[in-house]
Assembly symmetry: C2
Homo-oligomer: 206 residues x 2
């Protein structure tokens, strides 16, 4: 299997962190140069119609895009440690938390950076200050909400690391581009970020 990825892109990192936490080393990582447009070739669009990375290509040529869908497939191949739920209710509960992390934290962080950071003007051709501001406000509010959740537990969903922590970490680390990181205003999130740094996921390059 091949995983198409790129440096500094938060979505591929969700998958490479997922592989790192499972100790999987036999997936070939193919690094694309986004600045050079390697994701916009006809060849790559045949694998990923929206030029999205990550894209997972199976040995038989079938392809999957969308980080979480790729993780769902990888979880079926590499079951341990379980990161997406061990029974039906837990699978649903982790999916609920993963959506909260993604839609309320990670996606707003990404949109804030994409629309608010001059360095990304080439990738996001219609940068909008209004969209940047709205997403910044959501991201900051939700960072505080998640901080409050972490006051009484170590991980975002349940009592062990799950995909939810990886989803959130990808977004939170991406916000460094806008000079934000968990600090003393979100002390629990700061503690969680430090804990994550010592794990396999935290050692995956951005």
């Amino acid at each position: 299997m091949k995983l198409y990825s790129a440096p500094y892109a938060p979505n591929p990192r969700r998958v490479t962190m997922f592989l790192a936490e499972k100790g999987v080393t036999d997936v070939e990582i193919v690094t694309l140069d986004l600045q050079a447009g390697q994701h916009r070739t006809d060849d790559f669009r045949a694998k990923s119609p929206f030029s999205q990375i990550p894209t997972l290509e199976l040995d038989d040529g079938r392809c999957l895009t969308e980080s979480r869908a790729i993780c769902t497939y990888l979880e079926s191949l590499y079951a341990e440690p379980n990161l997406m739920g061990a029974d039906p209710f837990e699978r649903a509960e982790i999916e609920m938390w993963d959506r909260r992390a993604e839609l309320m934290v990670t996606l707003p962080m990404m949109m804030w950076v994409r629309h608010g950071n001059p360095l990304l003007a080439a990738l996001e051709k219609n940068q909008s200050p209004a969209i940047a501001a709205a997403n910044e406000a959501t991201a900051m509010k939700m960072a505080k909400w998640f901080d409050a959740q972490l006051a009484t537990r170590d991980f975002l969903a349940g009592d062990r690391l799950t995909i939810v922590d990886l989803t959130a970490l990808a977004g939170i680390d991406f916000a460094k581009m806008n000079k934000w990181r968990p600090d003393d205003e979100t002390p629990n999130l700061k503690r969680w970020r430090a804990m994550m740094a010592d794990r396999p996921a935290g050692k995956v390059a951005p």
Copy 2:
């Protein structure tokens, strides 16, 4: 089990359509009056911290929010007809398509309505014309892309109805509020919409 819902809200409809396609009739539907703020009580927030509907309450009191997570749990209880994938690759592939439908079509349609429709000013207190316009543009572009997909098949993912069709239908029908519906500019989507109208899902009230 109880499903907390509300009329005209697209996300609860994803779940009620899912139940309809499975022929499930033993989930109690509890209708909340959003205008009266019944989703903003402390009692309901204990079940759904962001006052979100749909919320599924199990008989033992545990709750799930997030439409897709609720469907994941319901799929485990009511396996047939299968709507979310029958093997690991198919589950991942349907999740990929469901994310495309949700993030590229349904969410933009919803955001376009929420930010662009004066009737929703009470619910969306910070309506933004820029956000409405950006989402309208995405929604219209993606409606054409999905229309092209349907030129060669009947359903959005694979050769049978799946959760993906329900996700897309919820968003597409919600856009009626902004006077948009699939027409001769998207003939395949129009044909798909007509086909959906004759199914159990299409008969679920908005």
